[in-house]
Symmetry: C2
Subunit: 335 residues, 2 copies
């Protein structure tokens, strides 16, 4: 099993990606390929302990920056760490790819260089979100701002397969994000989506209101990429604000401060449960190959966890299952 990492991607660059790769090699025994500037990567690897045959470097002369226009960057920067990683997956030289780089470019690369699985109209990002009970899979996390009814159906199928593998559940509950639980509620888009989902071959359990998502009401949260992005970012924002306000309130006087000291490890446990870095990245499901988008601000832990996640999804053959299961949806949605 070989996993390629775009070692130049992400806000913190090679310092963090290389450490994440080294940790993953040591912990999970995977074989890593790092794409990027050889000199920089070698320097980063120099001080680190790991089985030397488990990490190889493929030198690239270019980097796709966050400011680059996605499609143009993918087409023009042919020797970038991201495009070269795509090629390795495409040619079967790597079983999965991870990047914390330019999200738009990564999605464009997935579509242009790997291509869509036959029968999938729109591939989608599927991050996990923390809940009271563990995690849920959210799909689409932001790849498609506007969606047609068939997209929701395909998101539901892909999300269900992913959740089954990731969470080890036989028939994950799949719900549509809506503003009421009854059938017939919602905007034009979700009403149509409900219609196509209700006879789906996966375990469609109707609508879920946003209020019930953090409680873990459903294993798979289906929505368009606009709504998904709002949900993800709002949860992140609320988490940050909560901790800030809590800290303010809990350190207002010496007694409270002392109390807070006694509970320090408790706060750590709490923070950890709401830390996206613990959960790796978001697979871009529906393309021909395993592609994982790590958060732009990933640290070494997030990269390592992204690699662990890639390993799991390779072993569980997620892409293969989507490719075969898509046929169960019937062809009538293709109009």
């Amino acid at each position: 099993m070989k996993i390629v990492l775009d070692a130049m991607g992400g806000d913190h660059g090679p310092k963090v990606t290389v450490q994440g790769a080294v940790d993953a090699v040591n912990e999970y025994g995977v074989h890593m390929i790092l794409t990027g500037d050889e000199e920089i990567l070698k320097k980063e690897l120099n001080n680190r302990t790991y089985p030397k045959d488990k990490i190889e470097i493929i030198h690239c002369t270019e980097v796709i920056e966050n400011e680059d226009k996605p499609v143009a960057a993918i087409k023009k920067k042919k020797d970038s760490s991201m495009v070269v990683a795509f090629k390795l997956v495409k040619e079967g030289k790597a079983d999965a790819m991870i990047s914390a780089g330019n999200t738009g470019a990564l999605l464009a690369g997935g579509l242009l260089l790997l291509g869509r699985i036959k029968g999938i109209d729109r591939p989608a990002l599927a991050p996990v979100i923390p809940t009271e009970k563990g995690v849920s899979v959210l799909i689409d996390g932001g790849a498609n701002a506007d969606c047609k009814p068939r997209n929701f159906l395909e998101f539901g199928l892909m999300g269900s397969i992913y959740a089954k593998k990731l969470l080890n559940i036989q028939r994950p509950r799949v719900c549509l994000v809506n503003i009421g639980i009854e059938e017939g509620k919602g905007n034009v888009s979700t009403k149509e989506a409900y219609e196509v989902c209700k006879d789906a071959p996966f375990n469609f359990c109707g609508n879920v209101e946003a209020r019930d998502i953090p409680a873990g009401y459903t294993d798979v949260v289906v929505c368009d990429g606009f709504t998904g992005n709002v949900i993800l970012k709002l949860m992140e924002g609320v988490a940050g604000t909560f901790l800030k306000i809590l800290k303010e309130e809990l350190t207002k006087n010496p007694i409270r401060k002392f109390g807070a000291l006694l509970m320090k490890s408790g706060f750590k446990g709490f923070k950890k449960r709401f830390d996206y870095r613990e959960y790796g990245g978001a697979p871009f499901l529906g393309v021909k190959g395993l592609l994982i988008k790590a958060h732009g601000s990933s640290n070494e832990l997030a990269i390592k966890n992204g690699i662990r996640q890639a390993k799991l999804l390779i072993e569980k053959e997620v892409v293969k299952e989507i490719t075969s299961e898509i046929n169960t949806l019937g062809a009538d949605r293709l109009d």
Copy 2:
């Protein structure tokens, strides 16, 4: 100044509405009219201390239930506590109305019985949401699941006027909820909305990502009612889940439990800042009259705060200002 309260509305009924009205009369000196079953309301009032001339009851024989179909209920239940309250506002016998009852019926009543302000296509709910810095006004909170570009523009204007009065800010910042801050980002709907808002007479400050809403990045958060409903309910859900998980983590062993005890008042302060009951209700802006929707599960504190809010909005003449300011938007949006 007279404020009418639909005393039969809400999950907890007259017990809570009457107490809220009594507290408001005692604290703010307002004159209240309660609509509902006279016998029940008199019984509730019996044990309470307040200036007797400040609360009057108007007897109604019907109640609109949560299960009732909104438009049908408004049309048929002419002697319901909600419809009678609407009539009092319409006839100028009350300056504002509050109800914690059936939301759909309340919105339908606003449109059918009070009517829209000339120039407003779609009235909208404008709840406040807690932020690090205080509160922001969100509009639309759920009245219009699908919106046209002109709706966003009108929401921005109404939200700006409301925030100016409520938060005492001269030129509130007004932002559009979107999945990126740059112009040109978003789905079809938000791209169009940006176009019409950028030359608006209010202080339009571009897009806001959901992540930055809880930090208080903007005073007015503009979005369609679907997105607004998702934001409100998700914040509510995340708040609940946070406190639950925090409690779990913080009581895992005796030392932490002792720490938690020392910080009890700190947690109370924290909870209070995220408690919607502290903030009253959501005005339904754009109708000819002041109509406030209180949360269905309102307790007496929420009702009292809703009355305080009604008083403020009457004094500050919000409806009058919307009626005159709507003309500044220009007529080209009316196509």
